[in-house]
Symmetry: C2
Amino acid sequence: MTMTTGRVAPDRVDATLGELRSVLRPDQISTAGAVRDQHGIDEGLFAGVAPDAVVFARSTEDVVAAVRACAAHGTPLVPFGAGTSLEGHIAALAGGISLDLGGMDRVLEVNVDDLDCRVQAGVHRVALNDTLRRDGLFFPIDPGADATIGGMASTRASGTNAVRYGTMRDNVLGLTVVLADGRVVRTGTRARKSAAGYDLTRLFVGAEGTLGVITEVALRLHGLPEAMSAAVCGFPTVADAVRTTIETVQLGIPVARIELLDAVQVAACNAYSDLGLAERPMLFLEFHGNPAAVADQAQQVGALARANGGDDWSWTGDEAERNRLWKARHDAYYAALALRPGCRGMPTDVCVPISRLAGCIEETRRDLDDAGVVAPIVGHVGDGNFHVIFLVHPDRPAELDQVKALNDRLVQRALSMGGTCTGEHGIGYGKMAHLRAKHGEAVDVMATLKAALDPAGLFNPGKITG
Amino acid sequence: MTMTTGRVAPDRVDATLGELRSVLRPDQISTAGAVRDQHGIDEGLFAGVAPDAVVFARSTEDVVAAVRACAAHGTPLVPFGAGTSLEGHIAALAGGISLDLGGMDRVLEVNVDDLDCRVQAGVHRVALNDTLRRDGLFFPIDPGADATIGGMASTRASGTNAVRYGTMRDNVLGLTVVLADGRVVRTGTRARKSAAGYDLTRLFVGAEGTLGVITEVALRLHGLPEAMSAAVCGFPTVADAVRTTIETVQLGIPVARIELLDAVQVAACNAYSDLGLAERPMLFLEFHGNPAAVADQAQQVGALARANGGDDWSWTGDEAERNRLWKARHDAYYAALALRPGCRGMPTDVCVPISRLAGCIEETRRDLDDAGVVAPIVGHVGDGNFHVIFLVHPDRPAELDQVKALNDRLVQRALSMGGTCTGEHGIGYGKMAHLRAKHGEAVDVMATLKAALDPAGLFNPGKITG
């Protein structure tokens, strides 16, 4: 990957920091090597690049100060939440400032009757749900990692229960955003829907910090379900599991989660936790509702599963038993890592029309087998979204090259099937070439928007449009 | 309302039409007065302005030709679907061309397994559902009027079952859009979700033709429910009905529709159809699912209704009986019109956090009563969205002024409660002042986007940002 941007000159960074030292506390600025390194690399496949300094924001006003100082001196600025992104989103490709919003971690308001809340961008999703639980509410988006809400908004995160509750696109009601010139704009209202002009909320959701810095997020919430139940079932083939999923969605059965583990992943889970599962594709399901509804939903899906060759349907409404049934899914990532101790896990991320999902997974499995690569597949199959979990040894660069080539072919396969190069991880700089390959004209429009809102190109440079 | 744009010079229009006559058939261009008049006025409160000519597009290529010709000669262009908008959206404020997409009425593909389809922008929603029914599918967004899908996308339409199925924002998967310089861009993919760059789809949805001309729309579909049931119930007060709605939503009961008629509207329905209903606020509900689920949902909501003072809960799964129960809701608009024969119906459109809904409706009712104005109220209460149906005599301009003043106060009331000036009708030119009053900084950002994508300001000038 060639960088389109050079690194900012040190004197510009110094001038920026000098200006900020007059308005921020000393502990809000760090140039320590370890702090810089940690802020430049995420959890994905792509090389990190450390920023020149890290600024810790405590308020929207701090963000405005940082943005204005960067703008005044031409210093790049990369917003940072929890660093759990996967496509090199936070690499400081042009150097400059990493703006850490993790200290903005207050839940500002919870409106129980309206099922909404407003939080600072640095609130982590697990902490938010701990706060919401006392009011009988929850925020459903679960990307796995304990990301910040601002980071999840910026990458349009989703995860295991998007099939029922949607993604960050659907669950952000409004934003407070600091623009490239330091203006603060609030988008959306507390109304549940609106037809009031351009959808600025959706423009900043998924923009990965390239159009503005999100400092506050208003979220749609849901009531904690009265009852939850879980089911698992093995199938002869991936196609049988996907057919069951398609029929479930077509019938409008509101499954909360419907997850696929392929046979390689199930074998990994057996090895990791001694589960003794039959090593074939499995669906893991969760149902939310009242006791009658979750039983009825499970009964319906169970019938579909059996008609598609699933002959070991297990269902429970008991919490301990539910956790036992779902153990393989909960442990999937760690079980995958245990296949090759000492390796990093590198999950890919494509999403295809669900009618093409079984074919896409099966072709991908053949490609992996042909290459002699052991890599489990896990899918949010209700959405047509799946991940190959590659295992790469950090000291063997040839492995990384092989994985990148396999991932390129996977993305091409998904695109050729009418899918997208990323269902939920985003573009960062890891998928810019794929984005342009599929959506050239659209990327030109994105670049026009980027130039309009950030004409100096200082917000997270080198990402999405370049 | 002052126009910010002058009318385009006739020679520019002539040059544009001259160029188009060489590429379009003669019957695709009209300058007849009746045709022009019909294309300049919608069904709302605000004065129409006829375009100088109407061009009838049959294909995306025709749209490109029209856009290029308009761009070459500086001629404004206003996209036209069915003309059912309500805030002056299609008024040709600066003259120029009305581009009628009604002839682009083909359903291009229906993918049953993926629950999606792609249609030309001029397909009407009723015709689409007629086509989908044979595959057991439906498209749920129902704004009342038989609008075109392109028009519904452009105004971010919703309607009675948005509480369960969302709005056009949630149900458009992708678009084909002709940009101001004639480029054709496709947004989105057939994947159910994506994190691939800026959400261009959501940018054009709700942009009211000011950023581009939508020529094709990919839609998310739903399986026709196996069973539908309906319920109605009267309440002592609007607050009791709204409390029932809030509790229903909090419990996550997936009602398909939950509609409020206030006592004035119920009285109007009694007078119109001799129904003999108790003249107090009523909720109308619809449930979708399998027979067990719709019975269970109705049982749950019925219990909530009774606990909130609703003592005449009626429920049925029978289709004929369902239509009888819902008759008052189906006839609401015509019953309102019949209150003052010879008058036009003029529906307002605000949306507030649901915790403020009862207060907003009650204050509005007092304001109407104080003014001596008879105007029923109908609400999509699951979303916090409601309409006052004003009745204005066309020959009495003072009435229109009074209605506009009442509407202004209504919008101010909604904004002060954290709501929006429009839940589903859009801005057009009727609500530009309200949009700016509430969202000044955001409107500046919208104007920046408008200038970036349509620098000459030829797409539907004088709307949203001016």
